[in-house]
């Protein structure tokens, strides 16, 4: 026979937990359907260009990963990144560069390198006063690219 307290609290705890997750899902589904695009919220192309530029400046100063960009055409990289972020956030742009797999082929990047880039992006968004909610939405769009970037 189960003790009354434990037989009551087990299902309650599980139910509350599942309910909390469901509410979380509903909230974001509603928020996303009624909001302007992330591109607009971020401030459009000028703001995205500034964030990307400052990120690249951070990368150039980041000894963990700057050696990967020693032979990179930086203005071209910035243009491609801006188009990629612009398109990914719902803006009127078209990324025409290589696929993520192709672009990173032979670079043998690992998760540590990818995380360093994320930190440089976060630093840029912080210094440009991008609100945390928008930062997280942008990171959520970029993060799924990780498996195509590392170990290529």
């Amino acid at each position: 026979m189960r003790h009354p307290i434990s037989s009551l609290t087990k299902p309650l705890a599980v139910t509350a937990f599942v309910a909390a997750l469901s509410v979380a899902g509903l909230f974001n589904a509603q928020a996303q359907s009624t909001s302007p695009t992330l591109y607009e919220q971020l401030g459009g192309k000028p703001a995205i260009t500034k964030v990307v530029h400052d990120m690249v400046v951070n990368v150039a100063a980041d000894n963990r990963i700057n050696h990967f960009f020693a032979k990179t055409n930086i203005p071209h990289l910035e243009k491609e990144l801006v188009n990629q972020v612009c398109e990914g956030t719902g803006g009127p742009c078209k990324y025409t560069g290589l696929s993520m797999k192709q672009a990173h082929k032979g670079m043998h990047l690992n998760t540590a390198d990818f995380n360093a880039l994320v930190e440089d992006l976060q630093k840029s968004m912080d210094s440009n006063n991008v609100p945390l909610g928008l930062q997280n939405q942008l990171l959520a769009i970029l993060a799924p690219m990780q498996p195509d970037v590392v170990h290529q």
Binding site: S6, A13, F17, R64, Q122, G133, N136
Partner: protein, 345 residues
């Protein structure tokens, strides 16, 4: 006193953990993002406060080694739990953890415990009219050795969760410690525990939603555990109707594994501050009195907590929680403060 070899091993590992932490924090940071180290659960594994997660200790990725050292204090009226632990993460793939837990039991040398005896008007749980039961300032200690392996997934980057499996070997050191006039019967055995040691098996799945609740980074973990542990093992493992007061309370012998579910959810209000809650089910085959007069009977129940964790940098985190440990001997409600300090690298 006989000192077991594995105790020495645990002590050595803890000291090595501290040493590695010193070197690790002094020389280089691991490459994972802030707070992706998680914190340390009371049994020493990387996780939330009371449940192990699929997360591997420290901030290690690929070819790095990371780890953590932790001290945790849980205080509820008449009970206090202290844990010291260390964990090493290898290549974000394997985790080895050790923990030493001390449960202080101070439900008092209750005069009312005399009712357990077979005197007139007594409950007859013990075949002595005036059993010398002393549950004032007693200590139950336990050592835990944990191994965890990440099977697949990256909680941040793969669309599916990070999934790990783990085992925890636990040894209760006070199963036979004489705390009463009853001879070599420790507190766990007195309440009907069958064994002084046990091994838990678990599978854990962790997923981080970067754009989660309120557009905040949100972590969700579910852990399914197979265990025989009573009150995490602090009250021993399994039950034996022939031990202590088990027969008198109608506790059945049960040496089988119980499948128990655990869950954690955390929302990062800021990149360095998380708030959340957890629950952890427990086997409830052990029975004990849950009031001072020993007239109500209960069992270990679901543990819960709500917490706030602060990660000022990758070397340190501080967790504060309000925890509910579920029914414990002579006390049905056990709610109080949980504080944990983690050094990480």
């Amino acid at each position: 006193m006989q000192v077991h070899h594995w105790k020495k091993t645990i002590a050595a590992t803890a000291i090595a953990g501290l040493g590695i932490w010193g070197v690790g924090t002094a020389q280089a940071q691991g490459s994972r993002l802030l707070a992706t180290s998680g914190v340390t659960e009371v049994g020493g594994s990387t996780g939330g406060g009371i449940s192990p997660w699929a997360v591997i200790a420290g901030y290690d990725t690929g070819d790095e080694v990371g780890g953590s050292v932790t001290g945790t204090y849980v205080s509820v009226p008449n009970y206090g739990l202290t844990t010291l632990g260390a964990a090493v993460g290898i290549h974000n793939r394997f985790e080895i953890s050790v923990a030493h837990e001390n449960l202080n039991v101070n439900v008092g040398a209750l005069s009312s415990l005399g009712v357990l005896g077979n005197q007139a008007g007594g409950l007859g749980l013990i075949s002595s009219p005036n059993p010398n039961i002393n549950l004032g300032n007693q200590t139950i200690s336990m050592d835990v050795l944990g191994l965890k392996a990440r099977l697949f997934g990256d909680m941040l980057y793969t669309p599916y969760p990070q999934v790990s499996v783990g085992i925890k070997y636990k040894k209760n050191n006070d199963f036979n410690s004489n705390f009463s006039g009853l001879g070599p019967i420790g507190i766990p055995k007195f309440f009907g525990a069958a064994k002084d040691s046990g091994t838990d098996f678990y599978v854990a799945a962790t997923k981080v939603f970067l754009n989660g609740i309120f557009h905040r980074v949100t972590l969700v973990n579910l852990t399914l555990r197979g265990t025989k542990a009573n009150a995490m093992g602090l009250l021993g493992f399994g039950t034996n109707s022939a031990n202590g007061i088990a027969g008198a309370l109608g506790t059945k012998s049960d040496n089988s594994y119980h499948a128990e579910l655990e869950g954690s959810a955390a929302v990062f209000l800021r990149p360095d501050v998380a708030v959340g809650g957890e629950f952890r089910q427990q086997p409830d085959n052990m029975k004990y009195p849950v009031n001072a007069a020993a007239t109500a009977i209960g069992s270990p129940g679901t543990m819960k907590d709500v917490f706030i964790a602060y990660f000022p940098n990758k070397s340190l985190s501080l967790t504060a929680a309000y925890a509910d440990l579920g029914p414990l001997p002579f006390q049905a409600s056990n709610k109080g403060i949980y504080l944990s300090l983690n050094g990480t690298f």
